[in-house]
Each structure stands twice: as structure tokens, then as C-alpha cells.
């Protein structure tokens, strides 16, 4: 059995890479399973990746077995540091991956999570001796250093590093990433398996994600909940200057108070994906009429604008099994911007060392 392990910093696009890889391998006729030793389930909610891949790969195991442990800021209250968590992970793995030829192991939000239980990236690598893929989000020159840092870390662990993908590269930096970053990385012996230009809508929560994230009520425009969000605009400006910002932000989410019907109406006349009204203030009826006509969802949340903005900082678009378009685009990015053939060949030609895995 081949274990593939995908790691990277928070928000770098690990789920995207796993999903594209899973669909690609499945299409090639491989029996693929997904396993995530350290997920992010809450008491009342299963790990979202577990749910996604369970559906995508038609797996029988319940989500809490696909992602047996969960990382959280208070995980030590949940897991006894002296407990036998490694065993739990091993058992779940054995059950979940039964009959699979390839197992994609999803990394925790960050590689150091649950290190105290021995389940950080180093622990997982020791446990499963996987072929490791790294995904990075490029922001500036320092992103190159972070990528080198990860690869050096893998080397020090004597891990089998397949290579890395530079993801969500801002369009002005694409040339620089190809012309400057790649030679440096390759010069140090690291394979660059892809340079993927930014698609902001892939990084921001969509309208439907916002409903959940903000515990919002949908007041109008239900039919537009699948709208992707490419920009977030906080509507706190005067009406006169608003239009300039609105026009510059296509497919935007507008976050503003329920008492700013004026701003919301103005936004509706430009490209807007969703309007989030904050502070629990119910808007004027004509906003809802117009939103209904335009098919733009209007969400009402009790959080104030500041809290909403803060929540959005850490939220990303969730790939959902029913999000055909999102999955489609994930695969397109993989095929167009990653060396997908080389990746498949790497996986096919890789001989896992015997006994390294359970």
C-alpha cells in the first residue's frame, strides 16, 4: 500500500491538492482511501475533510474513524497526554484503508499540531513512512524561505519528499515564482511539482459557507447561495465613495450594518455575490426586493462588523462534495498548473520500504 502524505501551513490548499489527487488516481483505476490522523472535528460536527473524502471516494468508514483525532486549542483537555493515541490512529488507519492501494493522508492544519501526543508531522511520518507532498501559499519572497524550511525539515526527518507545490500565487508574482523561486528550490534538489496562480474565490468562503460561519439567517436571494466570493468589502464608508470600492471588487461579499441599506443597494448595482448584514439589524424591505430580483443572498447575523471581519480572516472556502464547480476547478488547476503526469509517475514508481508502515 502506498501512503501519500500532504502537509503545509494553514490555508495553503492541502484539501484542494488531496481532492485533485484523489480524483485523478481514482480515475486511473486505483483503489484510493483517505485518512486524516489529526482532523478538526468539534463535539457536534465531524471533520469536513473526512466528510468530503468519504463521499468522493465512496468510503464506508464513519467520519470519526477517517479522522480519529482532532486538533483544537484545548485538545489537552480532551486527550490524556499519557494515553495510547498512536494505537488509536493505527487501528483507525487499518480499518479505514482496508483494501486500498493508495492512501492519501491529509495533514493537520499545521504540521506541529498534536506534537505532544506524538502525532505531529514527524510522528505521522515515522508511523506511515509516506511519500510527502508539501503545499505552500505564496505571498512574497519570504514564502520561498518557508518552502525551503519545510523541505529541510523533511530531509532532517529522512522523510521521502516527493516535492512541493506553490499554490495561490498572486498573479503579479507568477513570473517571479517561476523565474526566481523555482530555480532556487530546484538548485537545492527539491522538486517543484506546480506553480498555481491565485484564484481568490478558491481561498474565500462562499455564500453558503458564510451562513454557517456567521450563524446567519438568509433573508432573501436563497437561489444565489452557491455564488463564489472573490473579494470582501467592509461597508463602513460614505455612500459617495462607496461605488468606487464596489466597482473595483468583483463577486464581492459586502459586510455592513443592517442600517446601511443605502450601501447595500449601491453594492447590488455592481457585481456582488452576497450581502452580510451585521449587528442583527433587520434591513429595509426594498433591499430585500432588489436582492431577490438580482439573486443575491442577504444574510443577517448577530455578530457586529468587526467580529465578522475577524472571523473571515481565518475562514477559507470549503470544498463540499456537492460543489461540482469547485471540484471541477480544483482538478483544472491540478491539470493545468501542476506537473500531474510526473506526480502520478512518482506515485506509481515509488516503492515504499517494507515494514515502514502498519
Amino acid at each position: 500500500m502506498r501512503n501519500l502524505y500532504v502537509i503545509g501551513p494553514t490555508g495553503s490548499g492541502k484539501t484542494w491538492f488531496c481532492a485533485a489527487l484523489a480524483l485523478e488516481l481514482k480515475e486511473l483505476g486505483w483503489r484510493v482511501a483517505y485518512f486524516k490522523p489529526v482532523g478538526t472535528a468539534a463535539e457536534d460536527k465531524a471533520d469536513e475533510d473526512a466528510l468530503l473524502f468519504r463521499e468522493l471516494l465512496e468510503m464506508d468508514s464513519p467520519p470519526e474513524r477517517i479522522a480519529p483525532l482532532s486538533s483544537s486549542p484545548i485538545y489537552l483537555w480532551r486527550y490524556d497526554a499519557a494515553g495510547s493515541h498512536l494505537d488509536r490512529v493505527r487501528e483507525a488507519y487499518a480499518e479505514v484503508t482496508r483494501g486500498a492501494e493508495v492512501v492519501i493522508i491529509g495533514g493537520a492544519p499545521s504540521p506541529y499540531h498534536l506534537a505532544s501526543l506524538g502525532l505531529d508531522a514527524a510522528g505521522v511520518i515515522r508511523l506511515f513512512r509516506p511519500l510527502v507532498f508539501t503545499v505552500h501559499r505564496v505571498m512574497n519572497d519570504l514564502s520561498l524561505d518557508l518552502a525551503l524550511f519545510y523541505q529541510d525539515y523533511l530531509k532532517s526527518l529522512q522523510a521521502e519528499a516527493a516535492g512541493l507545490v506553490l499554490n495561490q500565487v498572486p498573479r503579479p508574482l507568477v513570473d517571479k515564482a517561476r523565474g526566481l523561486f523555482c530555480p532556487v528550490l530546484e538548485g537545492r534538489g527539491h522538486r517543484v511539482l506546480g506553480v498555481v496562480p491565485e484564484r481568490t474565490e478558491a481561498a474565500l468562503p462562499g455564500a453558503r459557507d458564510l451562513v454557517e460561519l456567521l450563524r446567519a439567517e438568509v433573508l432573501a436571494g436563497e437561489q444565489g447561495l452557491a455564488n463564489p466570493v472573490e473579494e470582501v468589502v467592509i461597508g463602513a464608508m460614505t455612500l459617495d465613495s462607496a461605488m468606487r470600492y464596489f466597482r473595483r471588487a468583483p463577486n464581492k461579499a459586502l459586510i455592513t450594518g443592517g442600517d446601511r441599506t443605502d450601501l447595500a443597494l449601491a453594492a447590488l448595482e455592481t457585481s456582488t455575490s452576497v450581502i452580510v448584514l451585521t449587528g442583527g439589524l433587520y434591513p429595509e424591505a426594498r433591499l430585500l426586493s432588489r436582492a431577490e430580483e438580482k439573486g443575491v443572498p442577504v444574510l443577517l447575523t448577530d455578530y457586529d462588523t468587526y467580529v465578522v471581519a475577524d472571523l473571515l480572516r481565518f475562514a477559507g472556502r470549503k470544498l463540499r462534495p456537492e460543489d461540482r464547480q469547485g471540484l471541477e476547478e480544483a482538478r483544472r488547476d491540478f491539470r493545468e498548473h501542476c506537473r500531474h503526469r510526473q506526480i502520478i509517475e512518482l506515485i506509481a514508481g515509488w516503492q515504499p520500504e517494507a515494514g515502514g508502515r502498519e
Binding site: 517571479k176 432573501a220 459617495d240 465613495s241 468606487r244 466597482r247 471588487a249 450601501l263 449601491a266 424591505a285
Partner: protein, 694 residues
């Protein structure tokens, strides 16, 4: 009358009462499944059971039942439907869906629809009062269409106290079917309507509104009261370069261009209506004033200047004649002062002389009651004189209260508008003059801008395509300049550089000295983030400036996407102008011209035009409206600038706006005008989805 009621507290009762008591000569059928008889008329249980053909159905039932009634009316072949009921678009999503269905039903059966959520319709000549307004207005020459029912009734009620009459009144409500444009158009054919008055909160189809109202105002004046509050979205849409265009400027510009009169207060509405409904149009804007006191005469002169009227310079013959007939102390020059002791005969004699002067286009008579004044007799003589002399507009101000009451009454009866103060009289005459000028202008053959060539357009489109391919909506300055350059607007030579060495190469190509400006769609104010370096003379300076700019920008705006730096040849100084446009949701591209540079938002020396019907003549007018024009002509020893080149640039920008609907806003600032030619130094451009507004 569907929803008729016996209960006097209900609207369904008030409407039947108004129909019956308003003297409607046709048959009125109350429809109510329960009531047997309403105001002496037997109620029909349903629309189907109304005998014969139905011209008009008025619906006052709860919203939930309206669609069913509309369907039945359609089946019955009813021609027009007035839906007074509320509970539609104005209540939100569910109401909006209901309204859409109502419109569909009316369309299917070919029924004209007024409302919903309105007050009804009135025709004072039929007479038909299908409203629940408490009283019927007087007959008159004004057709009044109001988007606010409450304001409509308030105006109608007030009109009874000031002697203002109406030909018809329509409460537009949600304007789901017929709107002000349909009604304006229809008023053209109505001989009883001389003036159209609209109270508007928004305009739905700006293009249609403009073309129809431009047509209507050639023949009948249209007064508009427009409140901005309720169409916040549309208002904001015309904002321009940091709100240069203010929130209402698109409406102001559109109204002015279509020849509509924007009225700010009810007082003004009354004043203008009075002048428009009784006076002929003046040939020019020269005003003569005949007064019996100096003070009011000066007030009138000041007002004339403020309103853009000229005080007529009387011809020599008139002055000589006045000198022969008036006392020695009298002032013979305009304003002509006939003195405090003027008799009615002296007044009319002077009036006769002044009005006969071919250099006078309109006359204002002022009277302040003094010891020897006989206001009522003066009024009587003026009325008699007026019967013989009707070619020029005439207005009167009899100042004071009790002592002039009778005189004012006489003047009013004879259709001589009489105002309380010189300012209001002058403003009303000025409105007549403006309208007359507008009618003359409408006769003038339009001079459209020359079209862009196919090659120019293709090159401009190519730049825009590249921006879209990069998934952006905001152009870099270098791209915006490339679009302009392709469209035949001279630009300062410049190019985008993606690294310090590239910048040096660019500078060497373009020639030193150069300017470096950060290139990022996220940065609007480049100077504020340390993103501009000017006057760089050598490769070394360019290299250093590049890194400085990059570091500054990353420090101040760490999340901005930076595409590099734009290298531009340093241009010589000239007059800095701003030219741009913003696409208004209702009226399309709104062109702006003014004094440019960094103080543009402070000085706000700008003028606006819609690009619809725009040509070189309009461009010139636009330039002349600004102080920048004084600078362009050469101020304090500066050489005059190439105004013809500015006109051409305005025309080209207008064409760009018309032919590239995907460009939603654009500013060239500064556009530097020289003695010969000009150059665009910096430009901002945003593209949208190509729709009308976005």
C-alpha cells in the same frame, strides 16, 4: 371599484364616494361579495357580474387577493387597472414576487396598470376622481404625476389654497406598469395640459426617460421635484473621483440636458407653474424692470444677476422718450424708477415705452405702496394694457399685504403672475428664459463626436482583453494609458517594468529624466504610500528608486498586489486638467471635466455632461463652465493652451464611454494641456461585466 365598502372608515368607501361625488358621468359599479348597496349603488358580487364593458377597474382589497382579481379583470376585458392596494415590492421579497406576477397578468391581458401601492387617478375635466384623496383639485393646466401618494395629496390640498389648478393627477405608486414616461408622453396629446409636473424618487429606464422627456419639453415645460433619498443605490452610482460629482449630479445633468426644470421647493413649483401656464416665451434673457422705489429695483437687479438674466440696456430712443414723459427725478435707465408718487397712468405709460423696446425680452413691474400709490387702479390699467400687448412675458410684484390685496387679485384674474418678492418673480422669469433657450437649442442640429476608427477600437479592446485574462477589473495606469493612446488621446510615453533592471532599460528607451510610479490595482493614492519618485536622471537613481518604492509599498500596504513600477518620461509643466467619466445606472456615462492635479477634490472646479447626444459644441460649453477655462485662455501672462485639443479629447473620451460599455469608470488626471497639444500623464480605469450599471 373592487373592494367597495359601506364602512366610511375604509378606503374602499372613500374611493366610491369620490367617484360618485366627484361627478363622474359614466357608470360606477361597486364590487363586493357581501354588501348589498353602497352609496345608493347596488354592489356586484364579482367582477364577472358587472354588466357591459369596463373601462377602468380600481382595486382596493388586501394584497393577497389582488392577483386573482387582476386575472378576472383580464378575462372580463377591462382596459385599465388602478391597484391602490399595498403589499407589493415595498414590503420585500414576497411582495416583489407578487408584483412581478401582477405585471405578467396585466401584460398577458393587455391591461394598462397604475400602481400598485398608489393613491389612484384624477381627471378634473371628465371629471373622474378615483382616489381616496379628501378633496378634488381645481381644474387647471397642470398634469401632475407623483411617486409619493402622500406628497401628492398634500400638494393637491395645498393647491386649493393658492389657486393652482390641475388637468389630471396620477399617483404612480410602485410604477410597476405605467410610469412617468408613459404619462408624460400621453400629456403631449392632451390639449388641456400645458405643463407637466412630476414628483419622482427614481427613474427606472434612464434612456427612455431622457429621449421621451427631451421630446416632450420641446413642446411643454416639465417641472420635476426629485427627492434623492429613496434611490440610494443609484445616487451612489454616479459618484466620481472622491465624490466630485456629488450624489445627485447625474440627475441634475440629465434633467438639464433633457430640458426638465428641477424645482427645489413647493414655493418654486407654484411660482414657475404660474409663469409657465400664463406667459409667452421670451426671445432672449434681457429683463427690464419698472419700479416706483429704488430698493426693490436693486433687489430685482441682484436677483437677475444671480439667475443669469441680463438687465436690458434700453435703446436711446426709449430713454429719450422716458426723459420727456417722466419727472426729472425719475431714473431713466433700467431699472426704470417712476418714483413713489407715480399715478396708474404714469406706470402704464412707462411700461408701454419699456415693453416696446426691441432690446427688452421681458418686463417686471414692481410696486411698493407709498403715499400717492393707487395699487388697485394701477393693477386695473396694467390689465387693460396687457390685453393689447401680449408678445413679451410680464410679471408683477406688488409688495406689502393688506393694501395691495385687491390689486393682486385683479392681476391674477387677468393671468398676470404676481409674486410676493422681486427674487421670486425674477427666478420665475429666468425659468421662462431658460426654457426658451432650451427650445431654441433643441432646434439646433446636433454635432456628434467623430467615431473611433475600427483599428482604434480593436487596439483598445485588445488591452482590455488582456486585463480580463489576468482576472482583474482595475487597470494599471500603464494599461489605462495604452487604451487611451490607442483611442487617439496623446499620452506621456511610459511602460511597465517588472524589476529594477527592467526599469533601467525602460528609462533608457524612454529617455531621462523619468518618473517612477508603483503599479498596483489596489493602490489608488500612490503618493501617500511612497509609491512615486520624480525627476530621476540616471540608471542608478532609477534602480534605487525602484527598491525604495517597493519597500515603502510593502511596509504600508503589505497585502497589495504589486505588478512592478511604471516608468514614464518626465513631461514639461502645463495646465493640469481632469477628464473622466462614470457610468450612471440610469443615464449612462456621465462625463466630467475640470481643473486637475492633486487639488482636484479640494477645488471641485468641474462640470458634467451625459455622453448621450454629446458633441464638440457640448464639450466647449462644458469647458466654459469651469474656472479652468480662464486658465486655458492664458491667465496672468501664461500662454493660452490648446482648447481645441481638449475638446477633441473630451469627444474621444465620450466615444470611448459609448463604445466600451464594459468600462464603468475612468479618470485622466492629470491631463496636461500645452500651447500646442496635450498629454495624459496618469489614468485610472475600471471595467465591469459590461452591463448597464455594474
Amino acid at each position: 371599484m373592487v373592494g367597495a365598502s359601506n364602512n366610511p372608515a375604509k378606503l374602499g368607501h372613500a374611493v366610491v364616494r369620490n367617484l360618485v361625488e366627484g361627478g363622474y358621468p359614466g357608470e360606477v359599479y361597486p364590487v363586493n361579495p357581501k354588501a348589498g348597496e353602497i352609496l345608493g349603488r347596488r354592489a356586484c358580487p364579482s367582477v364577472e357580474e358587472v354588466p357591459g364593458e369596463v373601462d377602468l377597474a380600481v382595486v382596493v382589497i388586501p394584497a393577497a387577493g389582488v392577483l386573482e382579481v387582476a386575472r378576472r379583470c383580464g378575462e372580463k376585458g377591462v382596459r385599465f387597472l388602478v391597484v391602490i392596494s399595498a403589499g407589493f415590492r415595498e414590503i420585500g421579497g414576497e411582495g416583489a414576487r407578487r408584483e412581478k406576477e401582477l405585471v405578467d397578468i396585466c401584460r398577458r391581458y393587455g391591461m394598462g396598470l397604475v400602481g400598485p401601492n398608489c393613491l389612484g387617478v384624477i381627471d378634473t375635466y371628465t371629471p373622474l376622481n378615483a382616489t381616496f384623496a379628501p378633496r378634488m383639485p381645481r381644474r387647471g393646466r397642470i398634469a401632475f404625476f407623483s411617486q409619493s401618494g402622500a406628497l401628492g395629496t398634500a400638494i393637491l390640498d395645498w393647491s386649493l389654497t393658492v389657486d393652482l389648478g390641475f388637468s389630471r393627477f396620477v399617483s404612480l405608486g410602485n410604477k410597476a406598469g405605467l410610469d412617468e414616461v408613459d404619462l408624460m408622453q400621453e400629456s403631449l396629446a392632451d390639449p388641456r395640459t400645458q405643463i407637466v409636473l412630476c414628483y419622482l424618487e427614481n427613474v427606472q429606464d434612464g434612456g427612455r426617460f431622457l429621449s421621451v422627456s427631451a421630446e416632450v419639453t420641446r413642446r411643454k415645460p416639465v417641472l420635476v421635484i426629485k427627492s434623492g433619498v429613496s434611490e440610494a443605490g443609484a445616487r451612489a452610482a454616479s459618484s466620481h473621483t472622491g465624490a466630485l460629482a456629488g450624489s445627485d449630479v447625474a440627475y441634475d445633468t440629465a434633467f438639464a440636458q433633457a430640458g426638465l426644470f428641477r424645482v427645489r421647493t413647493l414655493e418654486q413649483l407654484f411660482d414657475f407653474a404660474l409663469a409657465f401656464s400664463s406667459q409667452p416665451l421670451p426671445r432672449g434673457n434681457r429683463l427690464a424692470v419698472v419700479t416706483n422705489a429704488g430698493g426693490p429695483g436693486i433687489l430685482a437687479s441682484d436677483a437677475a444677476e444671480a439667475e443669469g438674466l441680463a438687465l436690458a440696456r434700453l435703446r436711446r430712443q426709449t430713454i429719450t422718450e422716458l426723459g420727456q414723459g417722466l419727472p426729472r427725478e425719475a431714473s431713466l435707465y433700467n431699472p426704470v424708477d417712476v418714483l413713489g408718487d407715480a399715478s396708474p397712468e404714469r406706470y402704464t405709460w412707462a411700461l408701454d415705452r419699456v415693453a416696446a423696446d426691441p432690446k427688452v425680452d421681458m418686463v417686471l413691474i414692481l410696486l411698493a405702496p407709498q403715499a400717492g400709490s393707487r395699487p388697485e387702479e394701477t393693477a386695473q390699467l396694467i390689465v387693460e394694457w396687457r390685453r393689447q400687448h401680449q408678445d413679451k412675458p410680464l410679471a408683477a410684484v406688488f409688495m406689502g399685504g393688506a393694501s395691495v390685496e385687491g390689486a393682486v387679485e385683479r392681476l391674477k384674474k387677468a393671468d398676470i403672475p404676481c409674486y410676493f418678492s422681486p427674487e421670486r418673480a425674477v427666478a420665475s422669469l429666468a425659468a421662462l428664459a431658460r426654457y426658451a433657450a432650451r427650445c431654441r437649442r433643441a432646434m439646433r442640429a446636433p454635432s456628434p463626436c467623430p467615431p473611433l476608427s475600427g483599428r482604434e477600437k480593436a487596439r483598445m479592446a485588445a488591452v482590455l482583453d488582456r486585463v480580463r485574462a489576468d482576472r482583474r477589473v482595475v487597470l494599471l495606469a500603464s494599461e489605462a494609458l495604452a487604451v487611451l493612446e490607442s483611442g487617439g488621446i496623446p499620452c506621456a510615453p511610459s511602460r511597465l517594468a517588472a524589476g529594477p533592471e527592467d526599469a533601467v532599460r525602460a528609462a533608457e528607451e524612454l529617455g531621462f529624466p523619468v518618473v517612477l510610479k508603483v503599479a498596483s490595482p489596489h493602490i489608488t493614492h500612490k503618493t501617500d504610500v511612497g509609491g512615486v519618485r520624480v525627476g530621476l536622471e540616471s540608471p542608478d537613481e532609477v534602480r534605487r528608486a525602484y527598491l525604495e518604492i517597493m519597500e515603502n509599498v510593502h511596509r504600508y500596504l503589505p497585502r497589495a498586489e504589486v505588478y512592478g513600477v511604471e516608468v514614464q518620461r518626465l513631461m514639461p509643466p502645463g495646465t493640469e486638467l481632469v477628464v473622466g467619466f462614470s457610468r450612471d445606472l440610469q443615464f449612462g456615462p456621465l462625463l466630467m471635466f475640470g481643473l486637475g492635479g492633486v487639488y482636484v477634490n479640494l477645488l471641485r472646479d468641474v462640470s458634467f455632461r451625459l455622453t448621450r447626444g454629446f458633441g464638440p459644441a457640448e464639450a466647449e460649453e462644458m469647458i466654459r463652465e469651469t474656472k479652468a477655462y480662464t486658465l486655458l485662455r492664458g491667465y496672468r501672462g501664461e500662454p493660452p493652451r490648446d482648447v481645441a485639443a481638449v475638446v477633441e479629447t473630451l469627444c474621444r473620451v465620450a466615444r470611448l464611454a459609448e463604445e466600451f460599455p464594459e468600462v464603468v469608470e475612468m479618470d485622466i488626471n492629470p491631463l496636461v494641456a500645452y500651447e500646442r497639444g496635450l498629454a495624459a500623464l496618469d489614468a485610472k480605469m475600471t471595467i465591469g461585466d459590461g452591463g448597464a450599471g455594474a
